[in-house]
């Protein structure tokens, strides 16, 4: 148990000319809740897949739970739980059938099953939905079911690829509560996210852009070095709201995506002024949260430092 939970050495993976993971060197200790943070397309999923031993690197090496991803992939698979970004369970199987299927694949002893399943269903609040088809669950419940299946064999390391993507705020909070409970049981958790508020909950985060690790530190230190802030705002009148604030001081960019929009700010402190401005225009806001800026210059600036 002395070796680190995860250690990578010049880990590299490219798809054609596109370098998805560029010489990644990272060491994660047992019991850490490590957050891999970066915008879409930064290489988060590729790193997850390499470490879960379901993809081979172009060069470099990594060890997970003491085993090489190059030579001992199947041993790693016995010791980890992995949740892909896309829902990977069977929608035409019920909650219970999915859990039992994975219990069989991981060879969970029959005697231990009732206790473990009851516990997993309990903390994920899925007990009332045992007989429901997985495809009929809400997004948040699907993710919790995925987590339950990934935990059925009590893994040493848990890989979660953007587990709260597309999940409502309440379920998101639930999900993180579960992760904290797991942390108490000394499970190492490796989670990727594009949301800064989630990154802040990790014991340590790694910022990644274009396959390169820009920095790995605790959330407070990383935040300090952010030159720009980005906020995701949910509003039924997103377009109108965006129009109202786009010319304000300190607002660098506004982009609308359906019923939400992203604001890029020179500093987070400007958010109060923006909310006041939106109230004056009479635009309703349902929710807002800080996200990782996806603008390239933010990262370029950070690389310069």
């Amino acid at each position: 148990m002395d070796n680190p939970a995860i250690k990578t050495l010049n880990l590299t993976k490219s798809f054609g000319d596109n370098v998805a993971v560029d010489n990644l060197n990272l060491e994660i200790q047992r019991g850490e809740l490590f957050g891999l943070v970066g915008p879409d397309g930064a290489g988060k999923t590729t790193i997850m897949r390499l470490l879960a031993a379901i993809m081979l690197p172009a060069s470099g090496e990594a060890w997970v739970a003491g085993h090489s991803i190059l030579h001992e992939g199947e041993k790693i698979k016995e010791k980890i739980g992995y949740m892909s970004q896309r829902f990977g369970l069977y929608e035409d199987l019920t909650v219970m059938e999915n859990i039992l299927f994975y219990a069989d694949l991981y060879e969970v002893p029959k005697k231990e099953r009732p206790r473990r399943i009851e516990r997993l269903l309990g903390f994920s609040n899925l007990t009332p939905f045992k007989e429901r088809l997985a495809g009929k669950l809400s997004g948040g419940m699907k993710q919790k079911l995925g987590l339950a299946c990934a935990l059925i064999h009590t893994p040493e390391v848990l890989f979660l690829d953007e587990p709260t993507n597309g999940v409502d705020p309440v379920s998101r909070r639930d999900f993180w509560r579960i992760l904290y409970d797991l942390l108490k049981e000394k499970v190492t958790i490796f989670v990727s996210t594009a949301y800064l508020d989630e990154a802040e909950r990790c014991t340590r985060i790694g910022l990644i852009h274009k396959g390169r690790l820009i920095m790995a530190d605790n959330p407070a230190n990383v935040k300090k070095s952010m030159p720009l802030a980005m906020v995701e705002v949910w509003s039924p009148e997103a377009r109108k709201a965006a129009e109202a604030i786009k010319n304000m001081n300190g607002v660098k960019d506004v982009s609308v995506y359906g019923n939400r929009f992203h604001i890029t700010l020179t500093e987070m402190g400007l958010m109060n002024a923006i909310i006041a401005q939106l109230k004056d225009t009479g635009v309703e806001i349902t929710d807002y949260r800080s996200v990782l800026p996806s603008l390239e210059d933010v990262f370029i600036e950070m690389v310069k430092r």
Binding site: A52, A53, I54, E74, K77, E78, D92, Y102, E107, G146
Partner: protein, 400 residues
């Protein structure tokens, strides 16, 4: 390999098939449909040919002659023409495919011993049927002329052996092309005896071959979708992150579809026996055993396609091309292999359905025992084993 994992895969696959109406239909409805379509559509027997008759002679002899056609099961008289134009109308509109025109001097010629000619027009747009129809017409005409002569066949040509005052007559049948099709008096009547399929019903050899074609398509198509579907739906990524071993996954999937395949064989056999009246002469147990062997190869091929293709669309197209088409065209099911051009004959050796068709026909029609089918059995076993091994090796628990 762990039995627990194989059982888990089998159970999961079974639940998924049972809950998916499309899979169910493909597994159990498609074979029945194919059997019906082919069983009824592909028949090499020509019977009940719609026929129009233009009797210009209107004598007792011409009526007798027409009756010969009416009473044979090959022709159904759909109408009588009053003038030449009626015949054209019948043929053009498709109401009749055969027209028989009897000239005014038919009975006169017959009685005076001259060649009595009739004119036959056949709709040649289906050349196969047309040829067979002309064959039937000349056969019926020959039989009729023999009967009228009442002379022993062997002395047919002797002018003195006939009834007193009569000379032998020959009935000429003139085909649509204008030359006589028959008319040489028969000196020797061939007495043919057909073994194994005494009624010469094409259905008796089509249905056994059909089972091979259905198994080929079902086996390859159903399994070719299973792994590709998991890649498309994203469930494979989750699956390969577990310690499940490729042979466990492949055997689990094979087993589920193997059971479906056996049910299909049973269904097809029963439909063949009870609906198409195709007798099964050989051992049902041997039929099931050898079907299992063929299924194993076909299912493994489907898995291999699925492993390589990773997309349901490509997998299904490839499986139709490599399993269904060869089974239909090159297995000896529809076209006799010995009549194929040389290169195609060689190609047919690598088509497993070829051996299965041989086996099925042998069991169905000849009651052959296993010892007569050793060659086919050994080749099918080698094929199944090889494809299964390749599928296992090709299946990687890694994303490219």
């Amino acid at each position: 390999m762990k039995l627990m994992r194989i059982k888990a895969i089998v159970k999961k696959e079974a639940i998924q098939i049972l809950r998916d109406p499309l899979s169910l239909a493909m597994a159990f409805l498609m074979p029945v449909m194919l059997l019906f379509i082919f069983g009824y559509a592909i028949t090499m027997d020509v019977d009940n040919l719609s026929t129009v008759v233009y009797d210009r002679d209107k004598s007792s002899m011409s009526r007798e002659f027409i009756a010969e056609f009416r009473e044979s099961r090959y022709f159904t008289i759909v109408g009588y023409a009053e003038k030449q134009a009626d015949i054209d109308r019948y043929i053009d509109s498709g109401l009749a495919r055969v027209a028989i025109s009897i000239p005014e001097d038919f009975s006169k010629n017959m009685k005076t011993g001259r060649n009595a000619e009739i004119q036959v027009a056949v709709d040649g747009s289906d050349s196969n049927t047309a040829t067979i129809a002309l064959g039937y017409i000349s056969a019926i005409s020959e039989l009729y002329s023999q009967r009228i002569n009442k002379a022993p066949v062997t002395t047919f040509n002797s002018p003195h052996s006939g009834r007193e005052g009569e000379v032998p007559r020959t009935l000429f049948v003139e085909g649509a092309t204008g030359y006589p099709l028959a008319g040489v008096p028969l000196i020797v009547t061939p007495r043919m005896r057909v073994w194994y399929n005494p009624e010469l019903k094409s259905r008796n050899f089509i249905v056994p071959g059909l089972i091979a074609v259905i198994m080929a398509i079902i086996a390859a198509l159903l399994t070719s979708l299973t792994i590709a579907r998991e890649w498309e739906r994203g469930t494979m990524e989750q699956l390969i992150s577990t310690p499940v071993k490729p042979p466990e996954l492949i055997i689990g999937k094979l087993f589920t579809y193997f059971i479906i395949g056996l049910i299909d064989v049973l269904m097809s056999t029963l439909i063949g026996i009870y609906l198409f009246d195709v007798p099964l002469k050989g051992s049902p147990l041997l039929l099931m055993m050898l079907s299992s062997l063929f299924l194993f190869g076909g299912l493994s091929l489907g898995i291999l396609i699925s492993v390589v293709a990773k997309s349901q669309l490509i997998a299904s197209q490839v499986s139709i091309i490599v399993s269904y088409l060869p089974a239909l065209l090159l297995s000896g099911f529809m076209f006799s292999i010995s009549n194929m051009p040389g290169p195609l004959q060689i190609v047919s050796y690598i088509i497993p359905a070829r051996y299965f068709v041989t086996m099925l026909k042998a069991i169905y029609l000849k009651d052959s025992a296993l010892n007569l089918l050793v060659f086919e059995t050994v080749l099918l076993s080698i094929f199944g084993f090889l494809v299964f091994m390749i599928a296992n090796r090709k299946f990687k628990k890694r994303i490219e």
